[in-house]
Amino acid sequence: MKKRFLLVVALALVAAMLVACATESTSVLDKIQKAKKVSVGTSADYPPYEYLDDAGNKTGFDIELMEEIAKRMGVELEWVDMPFDSLVAAVAGGKLDMSISCFNYDEERDKTVDFSEAYYTTEDAFVVSGAFTGTITEPEDAANYKVGVQSGTVQDGWLTDNLVTPGLLPEANLSRYERVDQAALDLANGRIEVLMGDYVPVQALVAQNPDLQIVYRGVLSTGPINIVLPDGDVELKTEVDRIIKELQAEGFIDALAVKYFSE
């Protein structure tokens, strides 16, 4: 997922230091409840997590999740679009109440802001068809076969960085598809031997096609994603974490994952 350059961290640090002197002890949660409005930052340029639909409205996994969280907090949701690099600094500087934009936990970021409980953990999976005779015990074993992946995804990045660039997997043996279901079709037809994808959408594909099976599952390119919260604000974190756990228990988040990640 997204981890960007040091400058952002440096800026966030500067902002946090300047702000630290002026921080009031009241929770942002009080402010949100008083104003009946929560202002949330996102960078709507990262489908399927956050992007614009054909009508130019924000949509995606994070967007719909946040809308539900705001609803359960009983407040109005105000979206603020900002480039990804500015989001942490904006929360640290008190410009935003929180940010949701597929943030991975990161030690440097943790110095200036807090993280909610992970609302979703993305895992990777390798899928093969019934005709597959090889073996995949380690993820690197995929380099011995023809591999398919959805282009531009974190899995595409993982395969490129770990298998193609070191010369383990010839570029010609990696097929990049616009959508993961196209890759699954080619897997069933035998044009590729292994498909790598996000576990949740891939599981949905396997459920539809009994000939396919998952042979490896684990965290390679991905990991837990969290909401970015103001530093040290226990009340707000408790409230957001409570709602996240509630939504996980109800299966709301899994349903969202299927909706957005298995097209």
Binding site: L11, V14, A15, L18, V19, A22, G41, A44, D45, Y46, P47, Y51, L52, D53, D54, G56, V80, D81, M82, P83, D85, S86, A89, A90, A92, G93, G94, K95, G152
Partner: protein, 214 residues
């Protein structure tokens, strides 16, 4: 998403781009001109301070100043992203515009000031009625260059989330996966804005030219 929708979505940011420019450029001109007058006619101490001002603000990348103003300074005075961005660009531009006006003031011969004083004008009147009118004419060509730079620098406010042309191009590029087309559309809009501005200023330069002094 069809092509028309695409262009019209990005073009909606033009209003903000022009808005940012229309705040940054005149505020920079106002501050820059006042400071340039102080620099040239304000004595040794003033000229040292102005020199420092110019060195500092020309030495800071506009985007850094933008972040400082938005995330730090605006803690006390709650500035919106639009105003914080526009004003930072105005401050950066004022340092450049000060240098432009200073250069123009200095290129009007000092003898003229002396002659004006000799015929009985006060120092203030001599600057106001003799030097400044000539300096303004001399400043237009380099100033149109600065205007073009400010129009293009206005794209930096995207870093604060102001949905101007560049940010809109990024968003639509991401959702449609047509990045090249998105950035090309943005480039065309910027180019037209700069072209129009420099043409207008050329026209102004010709109109203001002193007839006897081709």
């Amino acid at each position: 998403m069809d092509f028309g929708q695409f262009i019209s979505y990005i073009a909606q940011g033009t209003v903000l781009t022009i808005g940012v420019t229309l705040i940054a450029l005149p505020s920079g001109l106002l501050i820059g001109t006042l400071l340039a007058l102080l620099y040239v006619y304000g004595g040794k101490a003033a000229s040292r301070i102005m020199n420092l001002y110019s060195t500092i603000f020309r030495g800071i990348p506009p985007v850094v100043l933008l972040f400082i103003l938005f995330f730090a300074v605006s803690k006390g005075i709650n500035l919106s992203a639009f105003w914080a961005g526009s004003l930072s660009l105005g401050v950066v531009s004022s340092a450049y515009q000060m240098e432009i006006v200073r250069g123009a003031l200095l290129s009007v011969s000092g003898d003229q000031l002396m002659a004006a004083r000799a015929v009985g004008l006060s120092r203030l009147h001599a600057i106001r009625y003799v030097v400044l009118p000539q300096a303004v004419r001399l400043a237009i060509p380099p100033w149109s260059n600065e205007a073009a730079i400010v129009i293009k620098d206005s794209s930096l406010v995207y870093a604060l989330g102001v949905p101007e042309i560049l940010r809109r191009a990024q968003l639509i590029g991401a959702s449609s996966q047509k990045y090249l087309l998105a950035y090309l559309s943005a480039a065309v809009i910027y180019f037209l804005l700069v072209l129009l501005t420099t043409r207008l200023l050329n026209h102004l330069e010709n109109k203001l030219a002193i007839p006897s002094n081709p």
